[in-house]
Amino acid sequence: MCGIIGFIDKTKSPMDGSKIKAALSLMNERGSGDGAGYVAYGIYPDYADCYALHVFFDNMAEPKTKVDEILHRWGTVVHQEEIPTVEQPGLKRVHIPWRYFFKPYDDMIGGKVGSEKDIIKHIVMEVNSSIDGALVFSSGKNMGVFKASGWPEDVANFYRIEDYKGYIWLAHNRYPTNSPGWWGGAHPFNLLDWSVVHNGEITSYGTNQRYVEGYGYKCTLLTDTEVVAYLFDLLGRQHELPTETVVKALAPPFWDEIDRMPPADEELYRAIRLTYGSALMNGPFAIVVASSEGIVGFTDRIKLRPLVVGENGDKLYISSEESAIRVIDPEVKNIRTPRAGEPIIGRFNA
């Protein structure tokens, strides 16, 4: 099951988190109270040039000392603080959510580490695979993930989600099967700018995991969704593929369709499938991915999970349920259900 929502305002006018909370809570039928989460873009304008690292600490002693050591090796912490939270009766606090605003040193770039973002990727992989009691769950600029085990309302109230104003929002109501009760297993999953909410189960996980691990990504979060974030980072950022092409690699057309295409398209899609066969995602899914440039929603190639799209002027909504969209925007227009594998893309106006 699981319920998902994606929202973008193409003019970058921010919306606070209260409506997203209401919409996500409406889909409680799709969840089980074991996990919910939100991500918002544009929430840290004061630190817009820093990477906002959100970390779950089990305690403030050893794990934090180790994370601090790694961060000091690679750059400067401009500011850090505990993420403000309010205790909720229905939510058991098992981690301390912390945020760093971090700038990597330029002179650390070199060799395998080709950019600032490679430094951040390296830090995230190192912390998550080697430090017990610390988990980086958000690592982009001017954005942040807020998630925990619990019902959507409780998680939203815990993080005071209505206090954040973002021009992109993703949210996820979880019915877990792989790793219940584990905050790291709640969605959205994030790496750098990429955030992912996902309803489904990736039957090709083993293949996708082996593929991204060949490029230095480490799958540590005990669930299949994180691999989607890494696939977007690899194909979208490192291989510089346009978003449409990334979606066509992850959910490509069938060979029957490709065979009938005009020669140039046939060659393109054949090349995509030959090159990125290991990135193809199989099994039922509906996914919305956000980045600093916009959002994209798509389903598996035979659409085994629901996805609905609506628009209202510069606002684009993607969700598991039409009713959730209508809670945010009763005036929504052009409600439709996209075809299997069709990318629904929302970009900021130029």
Binding site: R210, P242, A264, I272, L274, N282, R301, L304
Partner: protein
């Protein structure tokens, strides 16, 4: 003191009440087990190879054949085989020859790997109602795509694709040469792969002119004897394979006995009539990996870089590192032949004791290529003891792109795995050049049977994938998450990178 004879391996008997005295057993047995004396059919069990031709052809089901009970004093170490091998060698002073694949009693890893299926949390896919994609491309793939802007401002693909073979199903037939097998066997297999949209290997025996109509589905082989190789041969093949080694006998060459070198075989191989065709152990122009690079590139140069070049090696201990070297050689695919691979003739000590099983080899080669970032440089073709669609599915889940079958295709044509291929008397018309025996295999019928087999496995693979919620073979490849090991030790589970059942 004489050694005396060893006991016959089989015991053949005729139910005389059932026998109608038609004599088909006498006609069919090319080994001379049956003969007529007066009005009676007599049996000489010692000559029987267990090929079951007589049993299959007897209209009255009157013939029974059993393995002759061991009449040695039982001993856990000194098995019947151990004792008989010594007796044979004491008599002959020679290497013991054996046919078909590894006959040692080691457990199969495939049998201890279990496939997965969907329940509740994700739906299985019904291949009868939903598309199921098994199409497989064999050859070099780019590791990433690059695009360029045209003058008109459109984005177009800048990456050029290397030539690949397009398979409609990830099952190919491996290299068994014309000479080792008959022309009718080759024709049967060639028609079957053309019909099913896949490929077969010629083996190191050249390409008979009767196979030219099927050349677009043939992979021509260049082995250490270079038999049958010229530029015309190379140009006819859809791909070229350099054979370095073979799973049944890693480290040694090949030997086609002169008895099998008939006029046609001699013409096709370009060797004298009746002469032994001996392929040396190494290629005499390959003494290191850089020499292999030269041969790969020479073959590509000769065919204008239009054909994929495969390199076939036996799965030996260091197979992963060797494959990694091959991945850097401009080759397009590496064929790994596991220790259970079949052959017409191999020294028994090699067949049963040299090399490693294919399962571990696929896993370590796939892993090494990924670590080195060269997995897209070459396809992995696995072979050596693939018996059914489950072995096929497991090979792919471990990381292979496709498999070669050999023995399975022979069985589809009638072979009963008696293991006497090197004697050239195959009563099924497969591993023989004697025309009256070859005529027993009707290429139309043989083709139907082999294509039925490929079709059946393809259907079963579709069902297995559908049950696992996968509708494209790419998502099965290297998906070790969908395998579990049962009664496999920790060491092998680690190499396979597979969890144990229940985990």
């Amino acid at each position: 003191m004489s050694l005396g004879s060893i006991p016959p391996k089989y015991k053949v008997s005729i139910d005389r009440d059932q026998c109608m005295d038609c004599g088909r057993c006498i006609e069919n047995c090319s080994y001379g087990t049956f003969r007529r004396e007066g009005d009676k059919i007599l049996i000489q069990s010692r000559k029987c190879t267990g090929c079951l031709r007589c049993v299959s052809m007897c209209p009255r089901d009157a013939i029974s054949l059993t393995e002759n009970p061991v009449d040695y004093r039982s001993h856990p170490l000194w098995s019947r085989d151990a004792r008989e091998d010594i007796i044979k060698q004491a008599r002959s002073g020679k290497i013991i020859l054996a046919g078909m694949g590894n006959a040692s009693n080691l457990p199969s890893i495939f049998d201890r790997l279990l496939l997965d299926a969907c329940q509740v949390t994700n739906p299985s896919i019904d291949p009868l109602r939903e598309p199921m994609e098994l199409r497989t491309y064999i050859g070099k793939k780019p590791s990433r795509l690059e695009f360029k802007k045209t003058e008109a401002g459109d984005v177009e693909l800048a990456t050029k694709l290397a030539p690949n073979l397009k398979l409609e199903t990830p099952i190919m037939i491996g290299h068994m040469s014309y000479g080792a097998v008959s022309l009718n066997a080759h024709l049967s297999m060639a028609r079957a792969v053309s019909e099913t949209g896949t490929f077969m290997g010629t083996g190191e025996g050249g390409l008979h002119r009767k196979l030219y109509p099927y050349q677009d589905n043939m992979i021509v082989q260049v082995a250490s004897g270079r038999f049958g190789v010229n530029v015309d041969y190379l140009e006819r093949g859809a791909a070229i394979e350099i054979k370095i080694g073979q799973g049944a006998k890693p480290g040694i060459g090949g030997h086609l006995p002169g008895e099998k070198v008939s006029a046609e075989v001699s013409r096709t191989r370009m060797i004298p009539l009746g002469s032994d065709a001996i392929s040396p152990a190494p290629h005499h122009d390959i003494y290191s990996i850089e020499d292999l690079v030269q041969l790969v590139r020479s073959l590509k140069e000769a065919t204008e870089w239009k054909k994929p070049v495969f390199v076939k090696i036996a799965a030996v201990h260091n197979v992963a590192a060797i494959a990694a070297g091959i991945a850097r050689s401009s080759a397009d695919a590496v064929v790994i032949d596991g220790s259970r691979g079949g052959t017409g003739a191999a020294p028994k000590v090699f067949r049963d004791h040299v090399g490693i099983p294919i399962e571990g080899a696929i896993a370590s080669v796939d892993q090494k290529l990924r670590e080195q970032g060269t997995r897209n440089e070459v396809s992995i073709i696995a072979s050596g003891g693939i018996r059914n669609s489950a072995d096929l599915a497991k090979s792919i889940a471990l990381g292979a792109d496709a498999v070669y079958i050999g023995t399975a295709a022979l069985i589809a044509m009638g072979c009963r795995v008696c293991g006497n291929c090197y004697r050239g008397l195959c009563p099924w018309g497969i591993a023989t050049q004697r025309q009256d025996l070859v005529d027993r295999l009707d290429p139309d019928q043989g083709a139907r049977q082999v294509s039925n087999l490929i079709h059946a496995w393809t259907l079963e693979l579709s069902e297995l994938m559908g049950a696992a919620g996968i509708n494209s073979i790419e998502s099965m490849r290297g998906n070790r998450d969908r395998l579990r090991g049962y009664m496999l030790d920790e060491g092998i589970l680690e190499v396979l990178d597979v969890k144990t059942a229940g985990a």
